[in-house]
Symmetry: C2
Subunit: 151 residues, 2 copies
């Protein structure tokens, strides 16, 4: 391998932009980072470490390497990390303009997080001394899948 044969599995645009984004941080664009970032960018919801491991094909990456790739993505600002109801980290690709305000739907059943494009809500007034960095509106309940499965 290592010829100039890009995998056809992803759209060329995505492949390219993932690599560019990684290089722009000054770090190496390794297969591990590329695959993980592409996966996150194409995922409709935030993914757990375990889900990512599965999606990449089970023996593709070392457990620890994946953890480190994810840590690095978060540090570099290319991804976000949240903890779900089962106290498991979930990762999602950061969007270009970087949201200071965001809306999510969290399923209490399966723990998945769905990114809604919906509105940035309030202009809150904080207790003194508190500095605000992000606003997140969390809608909680059951996702469509879980509503159907457990009626």
């Amino acid at each position: 391998m290592m010829t100039t044969t890009p995998l056809p599995a992803e759209s060329p645009a995505e492949v390219d932009s993932a690599a560019v984004l990684i290089r722009r941080t000054g770090a190496r664009a390794t297969p591990a980072r590329l695959h993980v970032l592409r996966l996150l960018r194409s995922a409709p919801a935030a993914l757990s470490h375990h889900e990512i491991e599965q999606a990449l094909g089970n023996p593709a990456l070392d457990r620890v390497t994946l953890y480190r790739v994810l840590d690095w993505l978060v540090e570099s600002g290319l991804a976000h990390r949240n903890t779900d109801a089962q106290r498991v980290f979930r990762f999602s690709a950061a969007t270009r303009g970087e949201h200071a305000a965001h809306t999510h739907f969290r399923c209490d059943d399966c723990g998945r997080v769905f990114c809604l494009d919906a509105a940035p809500p309030a202009p809150p007034h904080l207790p003194q001394g508190f500095s605000l960095l992000r606003i997140e509106l969390d809608l909680r309940g059951r996702c469509a899948e879980c509503s159907g499965e457990h009626p």
Copy 2:
């Protein structure tokens, strides 16, 4: 013990109402449950298992018993459980009228969660099939303490 001597450390009203709340569920008002519920009700922010253990005086309660008391409080609807940024559970007393909408401030630094009384924000429109149970507005940044300590 077990005479009619309430500990003077808490306000009589709180002591009483904690016991009443517990009895109302049909369960026993044991010292463990009383102490934990009183502590949660008097806490300004959500507490972790560890913090509660400390606050109760170190060798007061078995680790596992505390976990079980907390689980029971959550199941009974007397407390809420959230996970903080360090993927640690944090517990807070449920308020009487039970909030369907709530506002929190989460410190990205220390992970603590502060309950703001602030407004119930938006009337969102969800994708089809999703059922909404709670709305949470999460403000994230640094709390007063952490802003001061790490300037």
